[in-house]
């Protein structure tokens, strides 16, 4: 029994170690740009200007209405075929996570800002702050606190979403594990190890998140 398990545990560890680094890198980079995109488009969704609102809405609905797998395929194979730019798989992965997380974060941002009582805006304007100062000093700091729990969830979702980049041969942890399995032809233990690799990150992330949530509640 042990003979059946232990070689695969030690055998997969280097793959997990190497693959997780890229998984984490792509998640952080993608989430970083996704947050910028999401904050911008989320605020655009709050605009009274129909064109600005429309652009953001089209983006959000297109992204949320299509699978991230299809988005990645389109980015990596589709776009490079037409434009002639060859993204590396890593670049395509980061772009895919940015665009995808951006659309969900946009809705988180919109919801967070809308949840702030309109009296706050009025109080800001009544002491003479401009619209953007009111957003910056009064609305955003309060809204951002409320965004933290859903942003944390989105972060975990994005982390897991990186696994689909195995399809574009991106050397993240799922891809590497598939490689390992195809050479050893014994999938059971390696895929358990793969699950554990994700859980090692997601469970602490969720614990931290819950702690932050509790702190913000007070």
């Amino acid at each position: 029994m042990l003979d059946f398990i232990s070689p695969h545990i030690s055998g997969t560890l280097p793959f997990i170690y190497r693959g997780l680094q890229l998984t984490i890198f792509i998640t952080f980079a993608g989430f970083f740009f996704g947050f910028i995109i999401g904050a911008l488009t989320g605020l655009m969704r709050l605009s009274n200007n129909k064109i600005i609102y429309g652009i953001a809405t089209v983006y959000i609905e297109l992204v949320r209405g299509t699978p991230i797998l299809v988005q990645a395929l389109f980015l990596y194979f589709g776009i490079s075929d037409v434009v002639g730019i060859n993204f590396s798989a890593v670049t395509a992965g980061i772009i895919a996570i940015s665009i995808n997380a951006g659309a969900y974060i946009a809705e988180i941002v919109r919801g967070g800002v809308e949840s702030i009582d309109k009296g706050q805006r009025e109080a800001g304007r009544s002491i003479g702050l401009s619209s953007s100062q009111t957003m910056r000093y009064i609305i955003w700091p309060q809204a951002f606190r409320r965004m933290i729990p859903p942003l944390g969830n989105q972060f975990i979702i994005s982390l897991k979403d990186t696994s689909i980049f195995a399809i574009i041969s991106l050397n993240e942890v799922t891809y590497l594990m598939r490689q390992y399995v195809s050479t050893t032809a014994s999938p059971f233990v390696p895929y358990i190890m793969l699950c554990l690799a994700y859980l090692v990150i997601t469970i602490p992330a969720m614990v931290i998140l819950r702690r932050v949530e509790r702190k913000l509640d007070v």
């Binding site: 009296g119 706050q120 304007r125 009544s126 002491i127 003479g128 702050l129 401009s130 009064i138 309060q142």
Partner: protein, 240 residues
């Protein structure tokens, strides 16, 4: 100081203000009373453009609010507003609530703003609360902070939108005291209120509004002791 001419305000099809004409002189305390839904809060909110004006003119301290060339932020900084629900900034300390306006709008230095905030907080009896967050204050204390926050901009006019309506009865006194001090110092004030005692004692003039119009106005004695309009008579019979 304030001149209002033919002010109309509609929300969609609903006309809330149906032609208001009013004047407020410098150092005058004008109390606006009337039943709920009479448009008195909307009227007050039009005075610093928290509501867009549908038609008519509002001139404050020589500036016409409806003139697109007027810098509305500058103008608002000269008009202090105190809200029914205080609207303090919960993520800032009491002192930061007071200093935000001066620092960001008038670019007052931090130390100067802090000193001014402490003076204003002392004035409303809250020196010891400078470094706490609004969440730990009572309603009456919150409203006094809100008054200090508005005063920090050194406004020429103070607007009060039912400042005591959300307070427990035992907390009303402290807020009214702060307002009386202000009135005695010669602040120009427009106060929408249900506190008839305050209106009678401190008002130089009382305006009675109903159905989006000014039905009657005059000295507190005229309005409270000898109202002419039957609506005013009905209203006062119900509230007094």
């Amino acid at each position: 100081m304030i001149k209002v001419r033919e002010l109309h305000k509609s929300f969609g099809d609903l006309e809330v203000l149906k032609g208001i004409d009013a004047d407020v002189k410098e150092k005058e305390v004008v109390c606006v009373i009337g039943p709920s839904g009479s448009g008195k809060s909307t009227f007050l909110r039009c005075l610093n453009m928290l509501e867009d004006i549908t038609s008519g003119e509002v001139i404050i301290d020589g500036d016409n609010l409806t003139d697109p060339k007027v810098n509305i932020n500058k103008l608002r900084s000269r008009v202090g507003m105190v809200f029914q629900h205080f609207n303090l900034f919960p993520h800032m300390t009491v002192q930061e609530n007071v200093t935000l306006g001066p620092m960001k709008v008038k670019e007052v230095k931090k130390e100067v703003a802090n000193n001014m905030a402490l003076e204003l907080l002392a004035k409303v009896g809250l020196s010891d609360k400078a470094n706490v967050y609004p969440g730990s204050l009572s309603g009456g204390q919150k409203q006094r902070v809100a008054i200090a926050r508005a005063l920090a901009m050194n406004p020429k006019v103070m607007l009060f939108d039912e400042p005591t309506s959300a307070l427990d009865p035992e907390l009303v006194g402290g807020v009214l005291e702060a307002m009386k001090d202000l009135a005695k110092e010669g602040m120009t004030m427009v106060v929408v209120t249900h506190e008839m005692g305050f209106a009678r004692e401190m008002g130089d003039r009382v305006i009675f509004m109903d159905e989006g119009k000014i039905m009657e106005e005059g000295s507190p004695e005229q309005i409270f002791d000898n109202p002419q309009n039957p609506r005013t008579q009905d209203f006062l019979r119900m509230v007094l």
